[in-house]
C-alpha cells in the first residue's frame, strides 16, 4: 500500500470517528459542550469517560458520520471556539487529576473569515501552550487525518500513538502538489514525499507506537481497531500514571526538545558536524 492509499484510508467516509471510538471503547461518557463564551463548535467532541475502569478526559476532532452530520460537524475542522472547548476540557482534567486522551482526526483548522476574525492562530497557540505545561498525563492518538496546526492543537502530549492507516502532515498532499508543481494532480507523488504515514512517523521518531487496524483497515474492522487502540492507550496510561507530575512534565519537555533535526556548523569551523537529527 503506497502513501496515497493510506491517505485514502485515513479519509475513508466509513472510517470510525472520535465519537465512534468513544462509543466502542468507553463505558461511561458525559459530553461537555461549548466554549462558555457564546457558542458550541461541533467539530470538536469532548467529555469525561471511563474505559475499563479508568477515568479519563477525552477531546477529539469529530468529523461526523453521514453527509448531514459531516456538514454539521464541519468535517472536524475546528474554529477558535472548538479549540476553546478542548482547552476547557484540558483545564478540567488538570483540576480533577484526570489523564487526557486526545483523538486527532482533522483535515486542518477551518480556513474561514469568521474563524480568523475570532483569532484562529491565537486559539491554536493557546492550546499548544496549555498542553505543554498541563499537570496531568496526556496521551495523543492520531486516528485519521492529522492536518497541520489544527491537528497539533490537540496533538501535544507524553505519548503519541498512531493508527496504522492514519496520517500526519504539515500540508495536504494536494496542497503540497499545487505549491511545488502548481498542479494539484500530483498529490500521489506529494503524499510519498511528505512521509506522512505511521511507518514514516515511527522512522522519524515522532510517535511512540503504531496501533494495528486489522485487514482492510479500521473502516472494515471498526470494533477490532477501537479495541486495539484502547489496549495501547491503557498500556501507556499505566506507565505515565506511575510518574510524579514534576517528572512527567520534565519528560514531556525532554521529549519535544529531542525533536531537533538540524546540523550545527560551529562559527570557527568549516565542516558540517555535531547534531544531526535528535540531540543526544
Amino acid at each position: 500500500m503506497d502513501a496515497w492509499n493510506v491517505v485514502a484510508f485515513s479519509r475513508h467516509p466509513q472510517r470510525p470517528t472520535a465519537a465512534d471510538f468513544i462509543e466502542l471503547a468507553c463505558d461511561y461518557f458525559f459530553e461537555i459542550k461549548g466554549d462558555r463564551s457564546g457558542a458550541d463548535d461541533p467539530s470538536v467532541i469532548a467529555g469525561m469517560v471511563t474505559m475499563c475502569g479508568e477515568r479519563l478526559a477525552v477531546a477529539g476532532h469529530e468529523k461526523g458520520s453521514g453527509a448531514t452530520e459531516r456538514k454539521r460537524r464541519n468535517m472536524g475542522m475546528p474554529g477558535p471556539r472548538g479549540f476553546a472547548k478542548a482547552l476547557r476540557l484540558f483545564k478540567l482534567a488538570e483540576k480533577l487529576s484526570l489523564p487526557v486522551l486526545c483523538l486527532v482526526d482533522t483535515p486542518g483548522a477551518y480556513p474561514g473569515v469568521e474563524a480568523e476574525e475570532h483569532g484562529q492562530a491565537f486559539a491554536i497557540s493557546r492550546n499548544l501552550a496549555a498542553l505543554a505545561s498541563l499537570k496531568t498525563p496526556v496521551i495523543v492518538a492520531l486516528i485519521g487525518e492529522g492536518g497541520s496546526g489544527g491537528a497539533l492543537a490537540l496533538g501535544v502530549g507524553d505519548a503519541v500513538l498512531m493508527m496504522e492507516n492514519a496520517t500526519f502532515s504539515v500540508i495536504s498532499p494536494e496542497g503540497c502538489s499545487s505549491i511545488l508543481w502548481r498542479d494539484a494532480g500530483k498529490a500521489r507523488e506529494a503524499a510519498e514525499m511528505l512521509r506522512l504515514t505511521s511507518r514514516d512517523m515511527l522512522e522519524l521518531d515522532l510517535i511512540d507506537a503504531v496501533v494495528p487496524e486489522g485487514p482492510g483497515g479500521a473502516h472494515a474492522q471498526p470494533v477490532a481497531a477501537a479495541l486495539n487502540l484502547r489496549k495501547s492507550v491503557l498500556e501507556h496510561l499505566r506507565a505515565l500514571s506511575a510518574l510524579p507530575i514534576p517528572s512527567l512534565l520534565e519528560r514531556r519537555k525532554e521529549r519535544y526538545r529531542r525533536l531537533a533535526f538540524f546540523h550545527e556548523v560551529p562559527g570557527d569551523e568549516a565542516g558540517l558536524s555535531v547534531s544531526a537529527g535528535r540531540l543526544p
Binding site: A115, L128, A129, L152, A260, E264, V265, G267, A276
Partner: protein
C-alpha cells in the same frame, strides 16, 4: 514597469540584438533603483525607501525589509551581538532527493537570527525573522534558534523580543517542522517560569504555524501597519469558500479592533515604544 517601458520593449522586438539588450539592461538598472509600491502603485526610489526605514513616503506602506535593516533602525548602534553558531537543516524528509538540502546549505543561513541587543539603553534578547530564507518559514533549525533565544534570555535574565515575518511552517520539512510549533512553546514556558516578558512584533506576513505558535503567545503583541496576521491566508480562504475576503481581511488594524493585538506601531515609532516597554520591564523587583 511603466507602460512606456512596454512600448519600448515591443519596438525593440524587430531590431538588432544589441539594442534589445541595451533596453533590457536599462530596465534592469531602473529596477535596481526604483520599485513599485504595492500600497499606492507609485514608483519609489529604493535609496529613499531605505532612508525612510522601508516606509513609502507617499502612502506609508511598510515594505518588507531585511534582518540587517531591521536591526539597523531598531537597536542602539552596534548593540546587536548576533549568536555566531550556524544552524542548518538536517533535511529530515530528504525532500526532492536532497535538492532542498542543497538549496538550504547554499543559502548558508536560516530564517531567524538571534542575539542580545539594546533598544534605547534597555537590553533584550532579539530574534529576527528573515523572509528571504524560504519565506521566513519555520524549519527545525528555526525552532532550535528560537529555543536558544529563549534559553539566552533565561541565562541572562533578559526579556525576549521577536520580530515575526513568516509564511508558516516549512513544507519541505514536513511533520518534523510542524512539531517545532510545540517545541518552541516548551522553550517559551521556561521563559515564563523565569518570569521574563516576551514582546512580539508582527510584520507582514505573520501567518500559518508561526502565527499559531510563538508569535501570538507573547505578553505584548505589537504589529506593523497593514501586516497580514492570520492562520489561513486570503488565498486559502478563497479556495475553500469561493469568496474573496475583503482587502482588510486579517490585517493588523482589524486585529487591533478585535482585541487580538495590543498596538499597531509604524516603524519610526517602534524604537520609542519597544524601548519604553523594555525600560518598564527592567524596573521589576
Amino acid at each position: 514597469m511603466t507602460g512606456q517601458g512596454e512600448i519600448r520593449e515591443r519596438r525593440a522586438e524587430g531590431s538588432a540584438a544589441c539594442a534589445d539588450s541595451r533596453i533590457v539592461s536599462l530596465r534592469d538598472r531602473a529596477r535596481r533603483l526604483w520599485t513599485r509600491c504595492p500600497g499606492c502603485g507609485l514608483e519609489v526610489e529604493r535609496s529613499g525607501l531605505r532612508a525612510s526605514l522601508g516606509v513609502c513616503p507617499h502612502c506609508g506602506f511598510h515594505h518588507r525589509i531585511s534582518v540587517g535593516e531591521r536591526a539597523g533602525y531598531l537597536f542602539d548602534p552596534g548593540s546587536f551581538r548576533v549568536a555566531d553558531e550556524i544552524i542548518l537543516t538536517a533535511d529530515p524528509l530528504c525532500f526532492q532527493g536532497g535538492a532542498y538540502r542543497r538549496e538550504a546549505q547554499e543559502l548558508g543561513r536560516e530564517a531567524m537570527a538571534y542575539g542580545t541587543a539594546a533598544v534605547r539603553g534597555s537590553s533584550c534578547v532579539a530574534a529576527l525573522m528573515d523572509f528571504s530564507v524560504f519565506g521566513g518559514s519555520m524549519s527545525a533549525a528555526v525552532g532550535e534558534i528560537f529555543r536558544r533565544a529563549c534559553a539566552l534570555g533565561v541565562e541572562h535574565g533578559l526579556p525576549l523580543l521577536a520580530a515575526v515575518c513568516s509564511g508558516g511552517v516549512r513544507v519541505q520539512e514536513g511533520a518534523p517542522a510542524l512539531m517545532q510549533m510545540a517545541r518552541v512553546m516548551f522553550a517559551l514556558e521556561e521563559l515564563s517560569e523565569a518570569r521574563l516578558p516576551f514582546i512580539s512584533l508582527l510584520c507582514d506576513p505573520s501567518c500559518g504555524g508561526v502565527a499559531a505558535s510563538f508569535a501570538t503567545a507573547a505578553d505584548v503583541i505589537l504589529a506593523e501597519p497593514g501586516a497580514l496576521i492570520c492562520f489561513s491566508g486570503p488565498r486559502v480562504v478563497e479556495q475553500t469558500l469561493g469568496i474573496k475576503p475583503e482587502p482588510d481581511f486579517s490585517r493588523a488594524e482589524s486585529l487591533l479592533e478585535r482585541g487580538l493585538v495590543d498596538m499597531v506601531v509604524p516603524r519610526p515609532r517602534q524604537r520609542e515604544v519597544i524601548g519604553g516597554l523594555l525600560a518598564f520591564f527592567s524596573e521589576r523587583g
